[in-house]
C-alpha cells in the first residue's frame, strides 16, 4: 500500500497539474494579502453581525471606506491607517477556496487513474481493491493536508512581509486555528473522494463537484426558507461558514461538533465510495 502512495506521489509531482494548483493557490494568497481582504472563489460568505465571525461594526465601517477607494494602493493606505486586525486569520477563514484546488488533486490522483483505465494495471497484478482504495484516500489526504499547511503558512508569512505585525496574529494561535481546520478539510476531501469513486468518469466528476458547494448552499437556504428552520443551520454547519467560523475564535463545543461532523463526512463518503468501487467492473 505504501508503494501505491509512493508511486502516486512520483507521478503527481512529475505532472504539471499539482504545480498549477499550487501556483493558483499562491496567486489567491498574494491577492488576498496585498488587498488586505480575504478573496472568495464562487459563492461568498455573507457577513452577518449576529454570527461569531469577528466582524465588528468598526470593521464594517472600515470596509465601507475601502469600497469607496479608487485603487489598490489607496485601499492599502486606508487599511494601514485605520485598522489593526488579524488579517491572516480572516484569510484562512476563506479556506473553502481550497475546495476547488482539492478538486484538481482528487482529479489527478483518482479520476485520471479510473477514467483512463490505468487502474486496471495496478489492480490486476499489484494490490487488492481494499488496499488500492485506502492508498488513494491516504494520498489525497496527504496532499490535501500538505496544501492546506502550505496555504496557511504561506498566508502567515506573506502577510507579515507585506502588511507587518499589526495585521498578523500570534504564531501559536495561528497554528491552533490551522489544526482545528484540518478535520473539516479531511471531511471536504472525503466528499470529493467518495464522488470520484462513485462517478469514475472525469467529466461527470467535474460536472458534479464544481458547482457542489453552491448547490449545497442553495438547497440549505431553500430548506430554511420553506420549512422556517433556524438560520444557524446554515451559518453553523454549511462547509464555507464552518471553515470561516473555525478561524474566528470558536468555542470548544463548536470545535468538537465541527470535528464530529467532519468524522461523519469522512466515514459516510468513504463507505459510499468504497462500496461503489468494490462492486464495479474496472474498465
Amino acid at each position: 500500500m505504501l508503494n501505491i502512495i509512493k508511486s502516486d506521489l512520483y507521478r503527481i509531482f512529475r505532472g504539471k497539474g499539482i504545480y498549477i494548483a499550487i501556483i493558483l493557490m499562491f496567486i489567491i494568497i498574494g491577492v488576498s494579502v496585498f488587498l488586505m481582504s480575504p478573496g472568495y472563489i464562487g459563492t461568498t460568505v455573507m457577513i452577518d453581525e449576529d454570527t461569531n465571525q469577528g466582524m465588528t461594526p468598526e470593521y464594517l465601517e472600515l470596509m465601507e471606506k475601502v469600497s469607496k477607494a479608487n485603487n489598490i494602493l489607496d485601499i492599502r493606505e486606508i487599511m494601514k491607517e485605520h485598522a489593526e486586525f488579524d488579517l491572516d486569520k480572516q484569510i484562512i477563514g476563506a479556506n473553502t477556496n481550497l475546495y476547488y484546488l482539492f478538486i484538481v488533486v482528487v482529479f489527478i490522483v483518482i479520476c485520471v487513474d479510473l477514467s483512463d483505465s490505468t487502474a486496471k494495471n495496478t489492480l490486476s497484478s499489484a494490490i487488492s481493491r481494499e488496499k488500492y482504495y485506502i492508498a488513494k484516500v491516504c494520498t489525497v489526504m496527504i496532499i490535501g493536508v500538505f496544501m492546506t499547511l502550505l496555504n496557511n503558512y504561506g498566508i502567515y508569512f506573506l502577510n507579515i512581509i507585506f502588511n507587518g505585525k499589526s495585521f498578523s496574529s500570534d504564531f501559536i494561535e495561528f497554528t491552533k486555528y490551522t489544526i482545528i481546520q484540518i478535520p473539516i478539510i479531511l471531511g471536504m476531501l472525503s466528499i470529493l473522494i467518495g464522488i470520484a469513486f462513485i462517478t469514475k468518469k472525469k467529466a461527470l466528476f467535474n460536472g458534479l463537484t464544481i458547482p457542489l458547494l453552491m448547490i449545497i448552499q442553495l438547497i440549505l437556504q431553500g430548506a430554511i426558507t420553506i420549512f422556517h428552520l433556524e438560520q444557524t443551520i446554515m451559518t453553523d454547519w454549511e462547509l464555507q461558514y464552518m471553515i470561516s467560523n473555525l478561524a474566528n475564535n470558536p468555542s470548544t463545543e463548536y470545535i468538537i461538533k465541527a470535528s464530529l461532523l467532519a468524522i461523519f463526512y469522512v466515514i459516510i463518503f468513504n463507505l459510499l465510495g468504497y462500496y461503489s468501487f468494490k462492486k464495479s467492473e474496472i474498465k
Binding site: 508511486s7 512520483y10 507521478r11 505532472g15 483512463d116 486496471k120 494495471n121 490486476s124 487488492s128 481493491r129
Partner: protein, 304 residues
C-alpha cells in the same frame, strides 16, 4: 505431473440477463502457452478480467497457483497482464510509466525497466510520451508492463492487435523466448487461430461464453492436417502393408476402422491399388484435411 497454474470450475458471469461466461472449465499447466480463441464478444476478455479480479464472477470458482479466488492478493504478484487496450498515463514517457508501476510492485532495480523495454523493442522511443505512441508501440509497452516484474504467468488479451507483420513475428518470438528461457506460462487470446497456432501448445475455443473445445497442438494438427483417410475393418493388416510395401511409417491408426496416412498425398491411387492387390476390404479411401480457419469455422458451427 505439471503444476496447475490456473483452473476454473464452472466459472460464470452474467450481466443482468446476458450470460457472458457459461460454466467455463479449463486448466492451464506450468509451461503452457495457452491460446484462447473466440470471435469478438465470445467472452475471452471477460474470462481474463475475472481471473485478474478486474471483474466479479457471478458463480463458480477458480484457482491461481493453487490458491482460491478469494485469497489472491499475494498470488497476483506472480502474474503480469495486458487486458484490453494498453492504458498508460499519456503525459508520461514509456520509461516513467513503467517506473510508476515498478514503484508499485516494489521493484528497486531500474535495470528491470530497461530490460523490459529492450525486450519489446522500444529502447529508442522509451523517452517519448505515451500519447505520441502508435497503436503498435502502445501494445509493446503493454507487454513490457506485463513482463516487468518477471512474472510466472502472463495474461495477454489480443496482444498483436495493431501490430505490423514484422512486429507480430517479433512478438511471437518473444513469447516463445519467455516461455522457453524463463519458463513463463502464457495465456494469450486472439480471434485469429492462425496467429495463436504459431505460438501456443494448447488451445481453448470459446463461443458465446461457453468452452466449445480444449485441444492440444498435436490434436489440432491431426484434425487439420492433409492426409489420406483409409476406412477399413482391417487396420492392422493395412499398417503392415504400408510399412512393408509402401515403405512408410508416416501414418496413424485412429481407431479400429480408420487409418490416416500422411504420405502419398499426390499419389493416392498407388495406395488404393496396393491395398486392393493385398485383398484388403476398403470401405472408403479419400483425401482429407482442412485449413485452421475452416477448422475454426466448423467447430464454431458445431458449438452452436
Amino acid at each position: 505431473m505439471n503444476e496447475i497454474i490456473l483452473k476454473t470450475n464452472n466459472l460464470t458471469k452474467k450481466y443482468k440477463e446476458f450470460i457472458a461466461l457459461d460454466n467455463v472449465n479449463l486448466s492451464i499447466s506450468k509451461g503452457d502457452i495457452y491460446g484462447l480463441i473466440g470471435r469478438n464478444g465470445a467472452g475471452k476478455t471477460t474470462l481474463m478480467k475475472i481471473i485478474t479480479t478486474l471483474s466479479n464472477k457471478t458463480a463458480g470458482e477458480f484457482e491461481l497457483f493453487g490458491k482460491k479466488d478469494n485469497n489472491l492478493t499475494e498470488t497476483k504478484r506472480r502474474i503480469g497482464c495486458l487486458i484490453e487496450n494498453p492504458a498508460f498515463f499519456p503525459n508520461l514517457s514509456a520509461v516513467n510509466n513503467l517506473k510508476y508501476y515498478a514503484i508499485q510492485k516494489g521493484i528497486v532495480d531500474n535495470k528491470q525497466i530497461d530490460e523490459a523495454i529492450e525486450l519489446v523493442g522500444l529502447s529508442e522511443a522509451k523517452n517519448k510520451k505515451f500519447k505520441t505512441y502508435s497503436l503498435g508501440m502502445k501494445q509493446r509497452l503493454g507487454i513490457a508492463f506485463a513482463i516487468l516484474d518477471n512474472p510466472d504467468f502472463i495474461i495477454l488479451d489480443e496482444p498483436i492487435n495493431g501490430l505490423d507483420p514484422i512486429g507480430i513475428s517479433e512478438l511471437r518470438d518473444l513469447f516463445k523466448k519467455l516461455n522457453l528461457e524463463k519458463n513463463i506460462t502464457i495465456l494469450i487470446s486472439s480471434h485469429i487461430l492462425n496467429e495463436l497456432y504459431q505460438v501456443s501448445n494448447k488451445f481453448c475455443i470459446i463461443e458465446k461464453g461457453k468452452v466449445i473445445k480444449e485441444i492440444t497442438k498435436e490434436q489440432l494438427d491431426e484434425e487439420c492436417s492433409k492426409c489420406i483417410v483409409i476406412k477399413t475393418n482391417e487396420t492392422s493388416k493395412v499398417a503392415v502393408i504400408l510399412e512393408e510395401q509402401l515403405k512408410t511409417k508416416n501414418y496413424k491408426i485412429i481407431d479400429n476402422t480408420e487409418i490416416r496416412l500422411y504420405d502419398y498425398l499426390e499419389n493416392s491411387s498407388k495406395v488404393n491399388k496396393t491395398l486392393i492387390k493385398n485383398d484388403i476390404d476398403i470401405i472408403s479411401l479419400y483425401e482429407s484435411g482442412i485449413t485452421l480457419e475452416d477448422y475454426f469455422k466448423t467447430i464454431i458451427k458445431e458449438g452452436k
